[in-house]
Symmetry: T
Subunit: 142 residues, 12 copies
C-alpha cells in the first residue's frame, strides 16, 4: 500500500502551538514516528497552509496512491472546496484529528468533510494517524 498523509494549516506549527492539546513534538517528529511503522516509501507527507495547494494535491493523488489520510486542520470546519475535492477523488480518504475536537470550541464540532470521507479517527494524539492509516488499509483491502 502507498498512502499520502496530508496535514492542513498550522500543523507545521506543531509542538509550538497549545502543547497541552497538541503535544510538544514537531511535525517532523510526528512524520518520523509514523514512518517508523512502515516500509520505506510507503507513505508520503504533505503539509500546506494553502487550501488550493491541498486541493491540487488531492486531485493528483489518485494516480500515485491507494488512499489518503487527512488532518485538514481548521479547513475541516468550512472548506467546501476541499470537500468537493475529496468527494471527487476515487481513492478512499480517512479524516484524522490529534485532539478530541468535540470537546473544544463550538466551531470545531462541525466538520464539512466527514460526510465525504470513509472514516474518522480523533482524540488519540499522534496515534490518531497510526489508527487512521490502519483503518485506511482495511478499507482498501475490503
Amino acid at each position: 500500500m502507498k498512502a499520502l498523509i496530508i496535514n492542513g494549516p498550522n500543523l507545521n506549527y506543531l509542538g509550538k502551538r497549545k502543547p497541552e492539546i497538541y503535544g510538544n513534538r514537531s511535525l517532523e517528529e510526528l512524520n518520523e514516528y509514523i514512518n517508523s511503522y512502515y516500509k520505506k516509501d510507503t507513505l508520503e507527507f504533505f503539509q500546506s497552509n494553502h487550501e488550493g495547494s491541498i486541493i491540487d494535491k488531492i486531485q493528483e493523488a489518485s494516480l500515485k496512491y491507494e488512499g489518503i489520510v487527512i488532518n485538514a486542520g481548521a479547513f475541516t470546519h468550512y472548506s467546501y472546496a476541499i470537500r468537493d475535492a475529496i468527494e471527487a477523488c476515487e481513492i478512499p480518504i480517512v479524516e484524522v484529528h490529534l485532539s478530541n475536537v468535540a470537546a473544544r470550541e463550538r466551531f470545531r464540532s462541525i466538520s464539512v468533510i466527514s460526510e465525504v470521507c470513509q472514516g474518522t479517527v480523533a482524540g488519540f494524539g499522534m496515534e490518531s494517524y497510526i489508527l487512521g492509516i490502519r483503518g485506511l488499509k482495511s478499507l482498501i483491502v475490503d
Copy 2:
C-alpha cells in the same frame, strides 16, 4: 490490559438490520472477530437495549477494567445520563461507530457523548472496534 466492549440498543440485531450499512455479520460474529485479536479474557462484551443497564455497567467498570470501548447506538444522540456516567468514570473511554455517522440522517451527526470520551473512531465497519481498542491501549499506556 483488560477492557470492556459495550454495545448499545439494536446492536444485538446486527446482520439483520440494514446490511448495506452495518454489514451482514451478527454481533456474536463481530465479538468473535474482535476477540481473535487478543489473549483470552482480555476483553469482556456487554450489550443492552436498556439505557439504565448501560449506566450500571459503566459505573461498575472502573474496578474491573482499564478502559471501555463503547458503541452507544442511538443513545449516542440523546442520552445525557450515559454521558454523565462516562464523565464520572475514572478509566478512559473510546467511542466507536460501525458506519460513518456523519454521512447519514441529520440526527446522527450529533453525539452528546463525544465531548466526554477520550477519542472517537467511526466508519470502518468491524475494524472500528479493533482501531478503538488499539487507541484505548495507547491512551492507557500514555
Copy 3:
C-alpha cells in the same frame, strides 16, 4: 392476521391521567374494547414504561406477528433507539395516538418515529387503535 399492540410510558395510567384528553377508561378497558373487534388470539397487548423493554419486544415481534400498532407515548418525541428498532423490523408498524398531538404542547408535535413507521393515526381516542389495526391490515394485504 396476528398483530402486537404496544403501549409506551404512562399509558398504564390511562383513565387516571388527564381524562379530558385521554378519556376515563383504563388501559384494560381499552384493550378489551379493541379485542372485542377481533377473533381470540389475533392481538397481543404489551405495555411498558421502559424504553429498553419496548425495543426488546419490537425485536422479537417479527417472528410471531405480521404487524405492530404502537403508541409510544412520550418516547415518540425523543427515543431514537425505538426508532432504530422500528426501522430494523421487517414487519409493518403503524403509529397511533389517542389525542390530536398537534394541538397540544409544542414538544408533542415532533415524532422521531413517524419517518420509519408505515402510517399514522391520531386524535380519535380509543378508535385510533381500531383504525390503526385496520390500516395495518390493509398494508399487510397489499
Copy 4:
C-alpha cells in the same frame, strides 16, 4: 351520515404524479373506490387547485354535511386561510394523506391545519380515506 371529501391541489393529477408514492389509480378511481363502501349520496367529492374555492366549500359545508375529510395537498403546509376556515367550521374535520408525509421532504413534515382538525390519518394510500371516514363517523357518534 353525510360527509364531504375535499381534495386539494394536484390531487386531480393522481395516477400521473409520482406513482411510486401516490399509486397509479386516478382521482376518479379513488373516488369510486371510496364510494363503493357507502350508500349512494352518503359522500360528496370536491377537488380544486384553488385555495379560495376550498375555503368557500368548507364554509358552505356545515349546512349540508355532518363532517369533512380533507386532503389539503400542498396547502397543508402553509395555508393559514384554510386553517381559519376549518377552525371556524362547526362540524368535525379529519385530515388525511395518501403517503407518509413525515418520511418525505422536510417541508411536508409541517402541517398548519392538524392543530384545528379533530384527527389525522396518513400513509395508507387510498385506505387513508376509508380510515378517515370511519374515524370521522366515530367522532360524530361520540
Copy 5:
C-alpha cells in the same frame, strides 16, 4: 375621499366564527356600521376568500379610490403576492385587524404586509375600521 375596504378570507364568516374574539355581528352589519359614518358612495366594500381576486382588486383600485383599508385575514401572515400588489399600488393602504393579533397564536404575530402598508390599527373590534379610515384620511390629506 373615496376609499375601498377589503376584507380577506373567512371575514365573510364574521359573527359565526369565534364570537369571543371577533364579536357577533356579521360582515354585513359591520359594513353598515362603518358606512353609517360616511356619506353615500364614499366607501366600497369587497370581500373574498381568493388571494388572486384580492390582488386583482388592489391593482384596479388606484384608478377609482384615494386609499385602501385592508384586513387581509390569514393572508396577512404569508401572502407575499398581496404584499407585492400593495407595494406596487400608488395610493396609501392601511392595515386593520379586529382582534389584537399579538395576543393570539404565534403565527399571527408575523405580518408580511405591514412593511409595505402606511399604517396599522389592531385590537379595537369594529372600531379598528373606523380608526383605519380616519388614519387613511389623514395620510391622504398630508
Copy 6:
C-alpha cells in the same frame, strides 16, 4: 373620560431626531396638537427616559385615569418590566407609534408589550395619538 398619555425614551427629542421619520414638530407641539382636540384636563402628558419612572406612573394611573395611551419608544422592544406593569394595570392601555415600526430596523418589529395592550396604532405620525385616544375611548365605552 380622563386619560394619561405616556411617552418613553427619546420622545422628548422629537423634532430633532430623524425628522424624515418622526416629523419636525417637538413633543410640546405634539402635546398641544393632541390637547386641542379635547376639553381642558381630559388628558395628562408624561414623558420619561427612565424605565422605572414609567412603571411608577402606570401603577399610579389606575386611580386617576380611565385609560392610558403609551408610546414606549425603544422600551417597546425589551422592557418586560413595563409589560408586567401594563398587564397588572386595571384600566385599558393602547400602544401607539409615530412611524410604521414594521418598515424599519429588524429589532423594531418585535414588541414585548403588544400582547398585554388592548390595541395598537402605528404609522400615522401625530395622528397615531388621536386615533389611539379615540380607540381607547371606544374600549372604555364598550
Copy 7:
C-alpha cells in the same frame, strides 16, 4: 419547439411597479419583444394573479407544449402547491426572474420551486426570458 411562458402575480403590472427594478415596459411589450425572436405560434403567453389558475395551466401544459418558462412572481417564495404541479409535470420547466432576487429583500432569496425546475435564470431584465427559452430548448434537445 412549442413553449408556454407563465407569468405570476403582479407581473401584469409591469412598467407601473418599481421601474428602477423591473424596467418600464409593460407585460404586453415584454411579450411582443420575446415573441419577435421566434416564429409565429411558437410561444403562448399566460399571466394570472391566481395560484390555482397557474396550477391548472401547468397541468394542462404537458399535452400542448414541449416546455415551460415560468416567472412565478411572489409565489416563488411560498407556493408549495405550484411546486408540486411543476414536479408532477412531464415536460422541462425553467424558472426566470427579471431582477437579481438575491440582491433584494431577504424573503426573495428563498425559492421553493428551484429544486423542481431544471434550470434558473435571474437578473437580466427582459433578456432573462430569452435566455430561459434558449436554455429550455437545449434541455429539450438533449
Copy 8:
C-alpha cells in the same frame, strides 16, 4: 407527612463524581443527613439509573406518599416520559438539584420537568433537599 425522595441516574455515584461540584459525601451519607432532620419513616429514598423504574415509582407514589422530592439527574434535560408521569401524579412534586445547573453546560439549563413540578430548588448542595422537603410541606399544608 410522608414523602418520597427520588434520585435519578448517576446520583448513586455521589462523592465519586466531580466532587468540586457535587461535594464528597456519598448518596448514603446524603440520605442519612436528610433523614436526621425527620422522624423515622417520614421519608423513603429511591435511586435508579433506569428511566422506566423512576416512572413506575412515581406512578405508585400517590397511594403511599403525600409528596415527592425529585432530583432527576440528567433525565431532567430530556425525559418527557418522566415529565408525563409527574404531570399525571396527583400529589405535589418538587424538583431539586445539588448544583446551580444554570452555571454549567448549556444542555443543563433546560429542564423538561420544571413546567409540571410545583417548585424548584437548586444550587445549595445537600441543603437543596432539606429546602425542597420544607417547600413540599408548605405546598401540602396550603
Copy 9:
C-alpha cells in the same frame, strides 16, 4: 446573620396583580410574614421599579450584609446590568420567585442572573423567600 431582601419591578403591586399566580397578600404583608421568622434587624427590605437603584443597592450591600435574597421580577429576564452587579458582589446571592416561572410565558423561562447567583428557589409563593433565606444561611455557614 444580616441579610438584604431585594424585590424588583411590580412586586410593590403584590396582592393587586394576578392574585391567582401571586397570591393576594401585599408586599408589606409578605415582608411582615418573612420578618416574623427572624430576630429584629436581621433582615432589611428593599423594593424598586428602577434597575439602576437595584444595582446601586447591590453594590452597597456587601459592606452591611452577609448575603442577599433577590426576586428581580421581570429584570430577571434581560438585565445584564443587574447580572454584572451580582457577579461583582462579594457576598452570596440567592434568586427567588413566587411562582413557578418555568410554567408561565416563554420569556420567563430565561433567567440572565441564575448563572451568577449561588442558588435558586421558585414556585412556593411567599415560602420561596423563607426557603431562600434558609438556603442563603447554609451557604454563608459553609
Copy 10:
C-alpha cells in the same frame, strides 16, 4: 466584446467528478465548446483551485475585459473575499453553475456572491456558460 471566463476549484476535474451531475466532458472540451461560438480572442479562460488567485484575476480583469462569467465552484458558498472582489470590480459579472444547485446538498443552496453579481444562470450543463455569456453581453450593451 472581450470577456473572461473564470472557473473555480475542482472544475479542472470536470468529466471525472460525478458525471451524472456534471457531464463527462473535460474542462478543455467545455472551453472549446464555448469558444466555438465566438470569434478568436473574444474569450479568455482561467481556472484555479486557489481563492487568492481568483481574487487576483478579478482585480486585474477590469482593465482587459468588458465582463466576467464566473463559476466559483464551492467558493460560491463561503468566500466573502471573492464576493468583495466582485463587488469592487467595475465590469459586470455573471454567476453560472453547471448543475441546478438548489436541488442538491443544503449548503449548495446558499450563494454569498449572487448578491453582488448582476445575474445568475444555473442548471443547463455546458449551456449555462453560453447563456451566461449572452446575458453578460446584454448587460454590457444596456
Copy 11:
C-alpha cells in the same frame, strides 16, 4: 476639543470587580489617568448605573461637547433606548471597552450600539479610553 466620557453600570465598581479582567485601578484613578493626558476642562466624566440618566446626559451633550466616548457596560448588550439616544445625537460618539468583549461570555459579543457609533475600541484596558478619545478627535477634525 471638549469631550464627555460616559461610563455605564458597574464601572463605578472598577478595581473591585474581576481585577483579572478589568485591572485593579478604581474609576477615579482611571479618570485621573485619562485626564493627565489633556488640558484642564477638556474632558468631563459621567458615570451612572441608571439607563435613563445616561440617556438624559447624551441628549444634553450635543450643546456642550464636540464628542462623546462611551463605555456603556452591560447596557451595550440590550439598551435600544441608549442606542436611539446615540443615533439622535448630532456629535460623533465612540464606543470603548476595557476588555476584549469578544473573548468573554456569549451575550457580550452582541453590541446594540456599535451600529450607531462612529467607531469602536476594545481590549486595551485603560488605554482603550485614550485611543477612543484620539479616534474621536480624528473624527471631529475630519
Copy 12:
C-alpha cells in the same frame, strides 16, 4: 518596537473600491501615511489576497516582530485557519478595520478572529491603523 502590518484580501484595491466607505487613498498612500508617524524600519507592510500566505506570514512573524496589526478583510468573517495562526502566535495581535463593520452587511458583524486577538479598533478610517499600533505598543509595554 518593530511591528508587522498585515492587510488581507482586496485591501490592495483601496481607493478604487467603495470610496464612500473606504476613502479614496490607495494602500500605498495608507502605508506611507502610517509610516510617517514612525522611525524608519519600525513597521513592515504585507498584503495578500491569499489566506495561506497570510498564515505563513503570521507564523514567521514572532521571530522578527514584537507585535502584529491585522486587517484581515473578508477573511475576518470565516477564516478559522487564520484564527488558529493568530492563537498560536506568541506576540500580541491587534485587529483593525477601516469602516465601522457593525453598521454594514450582516455577515460583517461576525469576526472569527476577535476572540483570539488582544484588542480591536474599527471605524476611524486610516486612523484605525494609527490607533491600533498605539494600542499594540501599550500591550507590549504592559
